[in-house]
Symmetry: C2
Subunit: 154 residues, 2 copies
């Protein structure tokens, strides 16, 4: 099995996982503290999806720390198969949540005047949250890609 | 290079490409004929994305027909690398377009009463179009996965 950038049990893998955790938590926090997020199902779905991504990435970050401390090799076929499925499912859900929220935001801000007339909606915070969610998805996509390469070359 | 289901230059690959073309064209046609689609940027983006997917899948279907007729082998590294990048970019754009449109539709139908009050919006046709777009994306995702496996095992 190749030893790639961002593979499990390496410092680069741990940094990627911590980045995913940080941006997912930030996106979740900003969206949950924005007033009126519950008016759109897409925003609630974004919170759920970022929560799932936070749990998944945090779990794998702990696993990486464990492997780094004990200098264990995580490149076995069962671990990598489990990681690749989990990573792809989480990445697809995160992209779906980010895009559906982005679609709703464009409708609220650009296509209609809802954001200008309804002052109780924190449209700026919705935008920041979706931006953070896209960054988090991008980092997860890098991890998924590396996992897939590892699984395919195993 | 492995000989997988749905790989380029095989009948299963051609069937997948034709399915992608059919569902992308149907989604595009239904959305373009729905009244009031231009009110949401997400719906216009869905049309553009389905148009791109239609062109891409049609091009590759022609390529498959050519390879099947002349019994040529398309499993060389340059072709597969080109296909894998194109497939992943198109699949990501299609998923993004489908999800953003789905987010907008849920907002129009469930979260607000816009679909009930604005009778000039064809909300049923929006839903059918997004459903077809998801089927098209799913078929493209299968092709992308097979291409990635081929490229990784090359």
């Amino acid at each position: 099995m190749k030893d790639l950038f961002g593979s499990p049990g390496k410092v680069s893998g741990l940094v990627l996982r911590m980045g995913q955790c940080f941006f997912a938590a930030a996106s979740l926090g900003v969206m949950a503290s924005a007033s009126g997020f519950s008016t759109a199902t897409a925003f609630c779905y974004l919170i759920a999806s970022m929560g799932l991504q936070l749990l998944w990435s945090f779990g794998l970050a702990c696993f990486d720390v464990h492997a780094l401390r004990l200098k264990r090799d995580l490149h076995n076929h069962i671990f990598v198969s489990l990681f690749v499925v989990g990573d792809w499912v989480t990445a697809t859900l995160s992209l779906a949540a980010s895009c559906s929220s982005a679609g709703v935001i464009v409708l609220l801000i650009k296509d209609t005047t809802i954001c200008r007339t309804e002052t109780k909606l924190s449209c700026d915070m919705f935008q920041i949250s979706v931006g953070l969610a896209f960054v988090s998805w991008f980092l997860l996509a890098i991890s998924s890609y590396v996992m897939f390469l590892l699984a395919a070359s195993a």
